[in-house]
Every structure is written in C-alpha cells, then in structure tokens.
C-alpha cells in the first residue's frame, strides 16, 4: 500500500480543491441585507469554508483507505471526526458540528461495512437466522399494525405525538397511493399532489358551500380525483417515462396555479377556512353543540376532551391507509396488477403479449389518484383550512422521496421511510431547517447505492412456479 498512499492523498486534495471551488462564493461570501430596500452588502466566512474543506479532505482520504481494505485506520479517522464534531471545540457554526460528526459516522460505517455485511450474511444463512428472517417478514407488518392500533391508549399519546402520528399516517397513505403508480406500474408521477389538491378542494368547497358532510364527500372526492387522473392521464400515458414525469409535473403546476388565480371559485391565495371536521354518526367533536347537532361526548356519555377529535382523526386516517394497503395487495394478485408489474419491467414485451399499455397504465394512474383524493379530503377535514400553498411541487417530491427511499413497490418500506423522513425532522426540531437538504441528498445517495430502496422488493407478486421449486429463477 506504500505506493498508493501518495495517490490517495492527491485524490483527496483534488476533491478538497473542488469542494473549495464549489463553496468559495456560496459559502465563503454571504450576502447581508442592510436596512434599505435596495441595499445589499456581503461579508466573508472563510473559517466555515476551511473547516468544511478539511472535513471533506479527511472524508475522501478515509473513503480511499476503505476502498483499499484498511479497516482500522478508516474507523480511527471516523472516530476522530466524530470527536471533533461532538467536542466543545468552537467550530464557526452549529451546522459544521453536525457536518463533521455525520461525516465521521459515515466513515465508521464505511470502514466496518465489509465486515458487518459478511457477518450479517453469515448469520442470515444459519438455520436460526433463516427462521428469524422468515418470521420477521411474516410478523413485522402485523406487529407494526398492532402498535398503530394501540397507540392512542398508551401514555405516550399526548397531543404532540398524536398530531405527528396523523401526519405520518397521511404521508404513509399518500406513499402507498403513489406506490401503485411509481412502484408497481413504473410511471414516474411528479404531479401527484395535484390529485391530493383536487380531493382537498372537493371537500372544502362541497362542505362550506353546500353543507355536505365528510362521509358523503369522501367517496365523491376520490371519484373526482380519479376522474382527473383519467382525463389528464389519457392523453399523456403513451409518452416515455421521463417525458411523462415532466408532463405530470406540468399538470401539477397548472392545477396549483389555477387554484391560486381562480379567485371566484377557490378564494385564491387566501384559501378556504372553517371547513367542518368529520362527524361520528352525525355527532360533532366540540365542547358545545351547534344548533340541531349533538356532540360526541353527549352521545357517548363521556366527559369532553380536546384529544378525542385527534384520536378520531387518527383512526380515520389509519383506516384509510389500511384500505389503500389491502386494496393494493389484492390488486397485485389480479391480472391488472400483474400487468402493471409486467409493464414496469418491459413495455415492448407486454405489447407483444397483447396487454394494452395505455389502459393498464390508466387504471394505475386513476387508482393512485383516487387514494390521493381520499387523503386530500381527509387533509382538508383535519386542517380545517386549505390554501394552494399546501400543494406545491415540493410536496410531490416529498411523497416521491418516501416511495423511492422505501423501495419502489415495497409497502412496509413506505412506512419506514415515512417515519424516517416525516417523523425524525419533527422530533428533532433544530434539524428541521436541514430537512429538505437531507431529503435531496438522501434521494441521490439511495439512487447511487441502493437503487431498489431500503427494502428491496422487486420480486414479482405472482410467480408461475414458487421460488425454490425449480421452475422460476
């Protein structure tokens, strides 16, 4: 290795040089607003840049060492970086502490990765490992479900937790809905949030203008969104994958801009407020009943508690999400579901076998849109206020990130990714600012290192011959 060390140093120096060139004007110089409207000044923060560049130099060196198979030096470098990041040593900004420490963590993981993977593969190969793995895949989902059902009865269920749980479940449902389109049918939809918006505005308008209730509108909103899916999808589903992605992005933006500018119909940027919440058999969740209505606490004879409404919402979204999941699992076994997966793998072969690609894609698109519509009207009922701001492109990107991170086509992966991407940043509030940065980087890293997602699941749902029986691969 003696001869390779200088070349590693050179490589790390080059990387650091590129990082410095990238950072010098964006990180090194900061624009500073000075009082007046046209005034802008700048200052320089080269210390930030220098720490970042040194960290990148060390990190790159560590990666080269790891590639050369030197485990312990890499781990030592990583631990040193973590120590610097976690030390009371004053780095120029708080972000740099995170940056250096996380870099160290990644180096340590990279260092022990070959060994850890070897051990894990060996452990999974033993009879106990095999049995555990099988039981895990079989029971993990059920355990998760049981935990989700029991959550409101645990002492942890304060208002903050329940709020977060409802939010996570909303994204789980959207992720599952988009998974039908992206994961199963292989259609990259960048305008998924448009259907979410259609559902939300359907409920908001029908309830505030025509006095319809949540349970009446819910199926209507789903149908409305599915209709939009069919109308928008029909002309464009013949397009190639990446063109389709851009067109759906265009549709998403058109719908948002229309919602924003058609003030007579949607109240424009001011949004729609005082949307009624969902009722339980006609009873409303409030302390004092509105005229001619009953409150839930009266109907059930319990004392009023503000949390009841939240728990009720939680069960609604849990139920809606489960319906999405069960529906998807069933569809995967039907001919149309199998056609989706076949289409994802090879469109030309499908065409040759007599599958109509446009119609098959259209069903996936419409069903995905329908679930987004359900989720949208739930969102409107929960928030009680909606505006076009909630339906920007970035929402589509977040939902897509959940699906991609979880592993396209994997249902349990979507749950894990939603908890990871939505739950973690809400828990660690000071990380919230870096959330979208981390989202973007995670999408790139997943594509580079694990393009099948955290939970790889691209097995066909149905096989001609069960795996291992000799017939299938």
């Amino acid at each position: 290795m003696g001869g390779r060390f200088p070349s590693m140093l050179k490589d790390a120096a080059l990387t650091a040089f590129v990082a410095a060139a990238l950072g010098i004007f964006i990180v090194g110089f900061r624009t500073v607003d000075v009082g007046s409207r046209t005034g802008l000044s700048f200052d320089y923060q080269f210390a930030d840049l220098a720490v970042g560049v040194v960290a990148i130099f060390v990190g790159r060196l560590g990666l080269s060492l790891a590639a050369a198979g030197l485990r312990w030096p890499v781990v030592a470098l990583g631990v040193a970086m973590i120590a610097v990041g976690a030390s009371p040593l004053k780095l120029p900004s708080g972000f740099l502490h995170w940056f250096v420490a996380l870099g160290g963590v990644m180096l340590v993981i990279r260092g022990i990765w070959p060994w850890a993977r070897g051990t894990m593969t060996a452990a999974a190969g033993t009879p106990t490992g095999l049995a555990l793995g099988r039981a895990g895949t079989k029971w993990f989902g059920w355990l998760l479900l049981a935990a989700a059902v029991l959550l409101p009865f645990t002492p942890a269920a304060d208002q903050k937790t329940m709020d977060l749980a409802v939010l996570i479940l909303t994204y789980v449902m959207l992720g599952w809905g988009l998974n039908i389109v992206v994961g199963l049918a292989g259609l990259l939809d960048l305008g998924y949030v448009a259907f979410y918006a259609v559902g939300a505005y359907s409920y908001a308008l029908l309830s505030t203008q025509h006095g319809l209730g949540f349970w009446t509108v819910l199926p209507l909103a789903g149908m409305m969104a599915a209709l939009f899916g069919i109308v928008l999808g029909f002309p464009v589903l013949r397009l190639r994958g990446d063109y389709l992605a851009i067109v759906t992005l265009g549709f998403g933006e058109i719908i948002r801009l229309v919602l924003l500018n058609w003030v007579d119909f949607t109240n424009g940027p001011a949004g729609i407020g005082s949307i009624p919440g969902p009722t339980l058999f006609g009873a409303v969740f409030s302390e004092t009943p509105p005229a001619g209505k009953q409150t839930v606490s009266e109907m059930l004879g319990i004392t009023f508690d503000g949390n009841h409404r939240l728990i009720f919402l939680y069960y609604i979204i849990l139920l809606l999400a489960l319906i999405t999941n069960i529906f998807t699992q069933r569809m995967r076994r039907l001919p149309v579901g199998r056609a989706w997966e076949a289409l994802r793998e090879d469109e030309t072969a499908c065409r040759a076998l007599g599958i109509n690609p446009t119609n098959t894609k259209l069903t996936a698109f419409a069903i995905g849109a329908m679930f987004a519509g359900f989720a949208g009207s739930f969102f409107a009922a929960k928030q009680r206020f909606i505006s076009p701001e909630s339906f920007a492109f970035i929402e589509s990107a977040i939902i897509l990130a959940i699906v991609v991170l979880g592993g396209m086509g994997s249902q349990i992966g979507v749950v894990l990714a939603a908890v990871l991407l939505i739950g973690l940043p809400e828990w660690f509030r000071d990380l919230g600012n870096y959330r979208m940065l981390a989202f973007g980087l995670a999408m790139v890293l997943i594509m580079v290192f694990r393009p099948r997602g955290l939970i790889a699941d691209r097995q066909p749902s149905v096989r001609l011959h069960p795996a291992g029986s000799g017939g299938g691969p």
Binding site: T31, D33, G39, L257, L441, M443, V444, M447
Partner: protein, 304 residues
C-alpha cells in the same frame, strides 16, 4: 403597433435568457438521454455567484460597468461550471446503466439539495442586485407611446448571440464538438474509436453549466432581484423551450427559447399576467402530447 413592438423587444430579451438555459438541457439530453432536472439550480447558483461578484466588484471599487460585467461573467461561468461538473460526477455518472428513471430521480434530489443549500447559506429573502447598467434610447414613438430599448436589453441580446455563435462553432468545427456529436450518435462506437466518453460527457455538463451561469447573470441584471427559488420556474420554462424546439437539437433550443419568451410576454401583455406560467406549462404538455420531437427534432426510434 407601438405596444406590440415594445412587447416584441421584451420578448426577445427574455427568450435569449431561456435559450441559453435550454442549450444545457438539450445537449445533456442529446448525449445521455436524461433530463437534467438540476440544470435550473445551476442557473440559480450562477445568478448568486454573479450577485456576489458584483458586490465584490463594487467593494474593490471597479466602477466601470463593462469591466465589472466581463469579470463577473468569467467568474460566474468558471465557478458554475464546477457545479455542473461535480453534479455529473457525483450524482449521474454512477447511475449509468441503472434503471431508466434512476438518473431523473437523482437529478430531482440534486435539485432539492442545491435549492436548500443556497437557502440555508444565503438566506431565503429575495436579494436585490442593484442596477449595473441603466438607461436606453427611444426607438420610435407612435400613438403617443414610446418604444424603448434599454442598453441592458442590447447587452443581453448581444451576449447571447455571441455565445450562441461561439457555441455553434465549438460543436460544429472543433474536435471537442466532433467527439460530442460522436458520443451523441453512438456512445459505445465512439468509445471503441478512442473517444474519451466520460470526459466528453463531463465537458457537456461543464459547457451547459457555463451557459446557464451567463443566463443567471443576465437574469440578475434584467430583473434586479433573485432568490433561491428562481431556478425551478426558469428551469421548467427553459426545458419547455428545449422540448418545443426539439430536444437534442441546438438550433431548436435557441428557437424554442425565443418562442417561449414570445409566448410568455405576449400572453402577459394581451391576456392575463396571472396565467402566463399556465400558458407555458400548457405549451409543454401540448408539445409533448402531439409532437414529442419538437419543431426541429429528429424522431426517435426505440430499439429493442
């Protein structure tokens, strides 16, 4: 008539900026068949580097506008090119040979990351750029309406025309251009004949990023205010321009940029300015549905 001429002048200026960005999309698509979703973000970074460059120039006391513009232009091109190179190296090159949508998803990730990186470091508030070039002259007057051309508009159009001419020469006449076109036609064959494919693709990104940076500087000078979000809309419009002109075709990108500028300005001028972005998105959708090869593109044959 006067109103029309004024709108036409404004439209050509805007179209020039879109055309410069569109070249980056069209070249990358031509050579590796991917939509570089992060290209709009490189444009935004170019605008930010220009903003900081102008601030540094005024700090150093460089008073002459042409000198400042030239310095900032070179600086923005050079440093944005590094972004183009680094993004390709880190996020796209490892994905060659992965499944078809992987590069696009990765590009969306890069786009989100770059946007938030700039927002975190430079702040979310719109940044006023100040006026670097002011003044202009009256072209003619009719119906009591003065048709004005500002010096800035002339600078924008001249810079764009010069760059596009230089670029066309680069692609048509130099060995780099020949390699680029060879890779576009058949990457494997080009590699067998000794073309360094990786280097050629990198250079394509570098050149596209440099042109986007110029567009960023011109945008900053023209509108006088930028924020971290400008790359999204400008990127989509430029992509629409590339598609409209025929993606993969250089003259197509220029023509498309001009047409998008015309559509946007005239829609805003004669119909409603609220729906001008809807008009551009609608054009994008309609072109992709009815004529995915665009105006000057070659039809694509899918080989199995």
């Amino acid at each position: 008539m006067a109103y029309f001429s004024q709108q036409l002048i404004n439209a050509i200026t805007l179209g020039a900026i879109y055309g410069l960005i569109a070249i980056g999309y069209t070249m990358v698509y031509g050579i590796i068949g991917m939509i570089n979703f992060a290209h709009g973000e490189v444009f935004m970074i170019g605008a930010f580097i220009s903003l900081i460059g102008f601030l540094i120039c005024s700090f150093l006391g460089i008073g002459s506008a042409p000198v400042a513009i030239l310095l900032v232009l070179l600086m923005a091109m050079a440093f944005s090119a590094v972004y183009g190179w680094a993004v390709e190296r880190a996020a796209y090159r490892p994905l060659r040979g992965s499944f078809r949508l992987a590069p696009l998803i990765s590009a969306i990730g890069v786009s989100i990351a770059l946007q938030n990186y700039v927002q975190l470091v430079q702040g979310a508030r719109p940044k006023p750029g100040g006026q670097i070039v002011s003044g202009g002259f009256n072209l003619f007057s009719a119906d009591g309406f003065d048709v004005r051309v500002s010096w800035l508009q002339i600078i924008i159009v001249v810079v764009t025309v010069v760059l596009m001419a230089g670029f066309t020469w680069l692609i048509a006449r130099t060995s780099l251009g020949r390699q680029q076109r060879a890779c576009e036609q058949d990457m494997k064959m080009a590699a067998l004949l000794g073309v360094n494919v990786d280097r050629t693709i990198s250079l394509t990104f570098v050149l596209g990023a440099a042109l986007a940076a110029v567009a960023g500087m011109l945008f900053l000078m023209y509108y006088g205010v930028i924020d971290f979000y400008i790359g999204f809309l400008a990127g989509i419009k430029a992509f629409t321009a590339a598609v409209l002109g025929g993606i993969g075709s250089l003259p197509g990108a220029m023509l498309g940029g001009l047409l998008i500028g015309l559509i946007e300005v005239f829609w805003a001028g004669y119909f409603s300015s609220e729906y001008k972005d809807v008009a551009v998105f609608a054009i994008l959708v309609l072109v992709l549905i009815f004529r995915p090869t665009g105006l000057l593109g070659k039809p694509e044959i899918e080989k199995v």
